[in-house]
């Protein structure tokens, strides 16, 4: 039976005829694929070359934004950190800053420093997890085990502060949930120093590895203009030579009192994108040491809120530099105890936009290296 061909002008709206070329093979990479994460990339390959790549996120959509509309400002805290549990402090940071402005409370100096320390520790925890997956994506099993093991150092620290290993729910409007333990400064300084010594060893086995350099340099090159045009943020933007870090450009809490440096590389390839987070971790260690030194040794860490605080009528947008880039939170309040609308603007989704442009014309073997170098977290993109 001959196949029925519908003329294009008689097609139902929204449908289009796909031209099938026998040379082209379509691969559904994900959502059940060791190299995909919770998403799908529809890859079309011609031999070893990718002719088209179509990222298809949405497999772990939880409706966080809609959920926030039916909960008050305090009960929103635990579920808003769920999109990136490995970076839970940083994804919660913009929400807490926004609610503080809406409700109108002041935060004590000590609480601001504790927040910075927790946020930087959490950034390192996230980057270690990301780096472990980057290692195994490139077939480097040692680079999977080392970061996954060294991450425990900082997880122990966060457990000492917050009582939870991963999902901390530590930041609240008005400060932080509870004070840091008595001898925390010494323990933190010791573990962070050791951690810094450990991550410097990663250069020997991973970043200076000749095979890794040959494999990832000059692959998936994102030029400076394209990086700005496509709206990428964070490590992807800084790897393309744009000096843009919200901790410096729009300092929040006490980042303006600390000496923060950003790391910028010019090449914009997968290697640079994978190296920037590692450099960020070294910078985070510096920030933590400075913050421990400058932190007031005593004082309030939490300004008391009245029960069920109501926000003023109006809207507020705050953003911070998370482990992946700028994480923003837009809250619209109509004067009730819960937000009228809450919008999370996350960096993962914005970095993912660059993926089809980078993968086109690459070799299939480069797909994991390019894909994961975008510092992408599938759950965060879906919210």
């Amino acid at each position: 039976m001959a196949e029925q061909v519908i003329p294009t002008n008689q097609m139902p709206p929204g449908l289009q005829v796909e031209n099938v070329d026998d040379r082209i093979m379509t691969l559904n990479v994900g959502p059940q694929h060791p190299g995909s994460g919770h998403m799908r990339i529809i890859v079309k390959i011609d031999g070893d070359y990718i002719v088209d790549a179509d990222p298809d996120p949405g497999y772990v959509h939880r409706g966080e934004e809609k959920m926030a509309e039916s909960r008050n400002y305090i009960t929103n805290i635990p579920h808003l950190e769920r999109p990136v549990i490995h970076d839970s402090c940083n994804i919660l940071y913009p929400y807490v800053l926004g609610v503080e402005e809406l409700v109108g409370i002041e935060v004590s100096e000590r609480a601001k420093y504790v927040r910075v320390i927790a946020a930087e520790l959490n950034r390192c925890i996230y980057i270690q997890y990301w780096l472990a997956i980057y290692g195994i994506f490139l077939g480097h099993s040692t680079m999977f085990m080392w970061p996954a093991g060294d991450r425990e150092l900082l997880i122990d620290l966060m457990e000492k502060i917050t009582g939870a290993r991963v999902t901390h729910a530590y930041f609240i409007p008005g400060g932080v949930r509870n004070d840091i333990p008595a001898n925390f400064e010494d323990v933190c300084l010791r573990q962070v120093n050791y951690f810094e010594k450990r991550i410097k060893e990663y250069a020997d086995i991973f970043y200076d590895n000749p095979i890794l350099k040959a494999r990832t340099e000059d692959t998936g090159v994102l030029s400076r203009e394209d990086a700005i045009r496509l709206g990428t943020t964070g490590s992807v933007l800084r790897a393309s030579g744009v000096d843009y870090d919200l901790r410096i450009k729009e300092p929040y809490d006490v980042y303006d009192e600390l000496d923060v440096h950003t790391n910028v590389l010019k090449s914009g390839d997968s290697y640079a994108r994978s190296k920037i987070p590692w450099l960020d971790m070294l910078e985070s260690c510096n920030i933590i040491r400075q913050a421990l030194e400058k932190m007031p040794k005593s004082g309030s860490i939490r300004t008391k809120l009245k029960p069920n605080p109501k926000g003023q009528i109006g809207e507020v947008y705050r953003r911070v530099e998370s482990g992946r880039g700028s994480a923003g939170c837009h809250i619209i309040s109509d004067g009730k105890i819960e937000p009228y609308r809450l919008k999370l603007s996350v960096s993962s989704f914005r970095n993912l936009i660059a993926l089809p442009y980078l993968l086109k014309g690459e070799k299939l073997g480069n797909m994991p290296a390019v894909y994961w170098s975008l510092n992408y977290w599938p759950v965060e993109a879906d919210r």
């Binding site: 694929h33 077939g139 040692t142 999977f144 085990m145 093991g149 590895n209 494999r215 299939l364």
Partner: protein, 458 residues
């Protein structure tokens, strides 16, 4: 941690064991032994040491240790023993199992973890047995539109080809090799040539995209690395003038060929890693790109067989490296030589006064045997190495060298990431082939300059 069934009672357990033992013994006595006796009426009986081995004689020998020696010797020199136990499949499988254990523990130490730890109480030594049981007990799933005969045959063919490769490896002096061929090295090349065919057939027959890509990659990789592999070994063939692997080993009794041919050894080692699909050349099984490559659709014991075959292949390649470049079993003998009289006459046993009254004949004992092959005997000044001494010493040297090479095959897995297909092809076609030609020219130069070879200095 072991889990005991909640209704477990030791009495029932022991009763079950006694019941089983009772029924097995009853069945053996009433049915098994008569059946064997009836079968022996019709079967031709073997002649061992000049005696017809009847069933009665075999039972008698069970209680007379000196009479067992000819039986053991006949077993040792039988083809079945060589193929199944030593130096064939059993020996290779033992080393392969050790390799898997060492690989797990060594990588774990490298990566700051402990590796298998609980199974078998001592450092997870029974983890492999547990894995094997798991694979055997799993369901075998075959894709709906797969080419079933080819898909079933692929793992079996893979293990069979790997075992054929193992059969060509000489392990110890005195002809301890399953197939002692005059064209041994050529046979090795022929056997290696089967692997890409099996890989592409299994990948194609699975009717799935990822195995297909993996199979194509394996084909690219094996074909482009087989040429430098063959060329890198030609230098040694030029210098020794033989393709027989045992003779290649004997030619290295004073020095191994790696001294003159380090380039060939490096090229062979690299191509070996690629043929074995080990990191950094594990493109056909690249996990993050194409799931598990050409192994994606294999499940249960089919996957287990492929793994067994690949570790047998690993042993065989490491052994080939040892034979060709590191001198095989050659090395100093561990223990002192014995008096010739001790072998030919026997061991004199003195009485309490010190006068010899009794002589125990030794020639029959396997370790003190004068081998029929004269060339293994090294007599100097009335002292002699027996073939048993040479055998054990040779096997120990061979295993030590092979394990060392296997260690260096395993090590890159903890150090390197995976390389890309175009980098692999560039390496194979441009760099390694060029280097192996340099190696051949070095060998020819050594021969024409009269350093090595007929009439040479060394």
């Amino acid at each position: 941690m072991s889990v005991i069934a909640p209704k477990f009672r030791l009495g029932y357990f022991l009763k079950a064991i006694f019941d089983n033992a009772f029924w097995i013994l009853t069945l053996v006595t009433l049915a098994g032994i008569p059946a064997i006796q009836i079968a022996l009426f019709f079967a031709p009986l073997p002649v061992i040491d000049g005696q017809l081995l009847t069933a009665f004689l075999a039972f008698t020998w069970l209680f007379n240790p000196t009479m067992q020696i000819p039986l053991i010797k006949a077993l040792l020199y039988s083809d079945l023993f060589r193929i199944a136990a030593f130096p064939g499949f059993g020996f290779a499988a033992l080393i392969a199992a050790g390799t898997i254990f060492v690989e797990r523990k060594m990588l774990a130490k490298l990566q700051l973890r402990v590796g298998p730890f609980y199974c078998g109480k001592i450092e997870g030594i029974l983890q492999l047995a547990g894995d094997g049981l798991k694979l055997i007990s799993k369901e075998i799933i075959i894709p709906a539109k797969a080419d079933k005969p080819l898909f079933w045959a692929a793992p079996v063919l893979f293990v069979g080809t790997a075992a054929a490769f193992v059969a060509l490896i000489p392990v110890a002096p005195g002809g301890w090799v399953v197939a002692d061929l005059d064209v041994g090295l050529l046979a090795v090349f022929a056997v290696i040539g089967f692997f890409p065919i099996i890989t592409i057939l299994s990948a194609w027959s699975a009717n799935s995209k990822y195995p297909f890509i993996g199979g194509i990659r394996a084909l690219h990789q094996m074909v482009s690395f087989e040429i430098p592999l063959i060329l890198s070994l030609l230098g040694v063939v030029i210098l020794t003038g033989t393709l027989n692997l045992s003779e290649i080993v004997e030619s290295q009794s004073s020095f191994p060929w790696i001294i003159f041919m380090p380039i060939g050894a490096i090229v062979f080692f690299t191509t070996m890693l690629a043929e074995l699909e080990r990191i950094p050349f594990d493109l056909p099984e690249a996990e993050s790109e194409i799931v598990a490559g050409w192994l994606t659709e294999f499940s249960g014991m089919m996957y287990g067989l492929v793994q067994l075959g690949s570790y047998l292949k690993l042993y065989a390649f490491a052994a080939l490296f040892v034979i060709i470049f590191l001198g095989g079993w050659t090395g100093p003998v561990f223990w002192p030589p014995l008096d010739t009289e001790l072998i030919t006459e026997g061991i004199p046993i003195p009485n309490y006064m010190g006068d010899p009254i009794l002589t125990v004949a030794t020639p029959g004992l396997p370790l003190f045997d004068k081998d029929p092959n004269e060339w293994v005997m090294q007599e100097q000044g009335g002292l002699v190495y027996t073939s048993g001494q040479l055998l054990i010493s040779g096997v120990i040297w061979f295993v030590l060298k092979t394990v060392g090479v296997i260690f260096f095959i395993l090590l890159p897995r903890g150090v390197f990431p995976r390389i890309r297909l175009d980098m692999l092809l560039t390496l194979g076609w441009y760099k390694l082939i060029g280097l192996s030609f340099v190696n051949i020219f070095i060998a020819l130069g050594l021969v024409y300059a009269g350093v090595i070879g007929p009439g040479g200095i060394l």
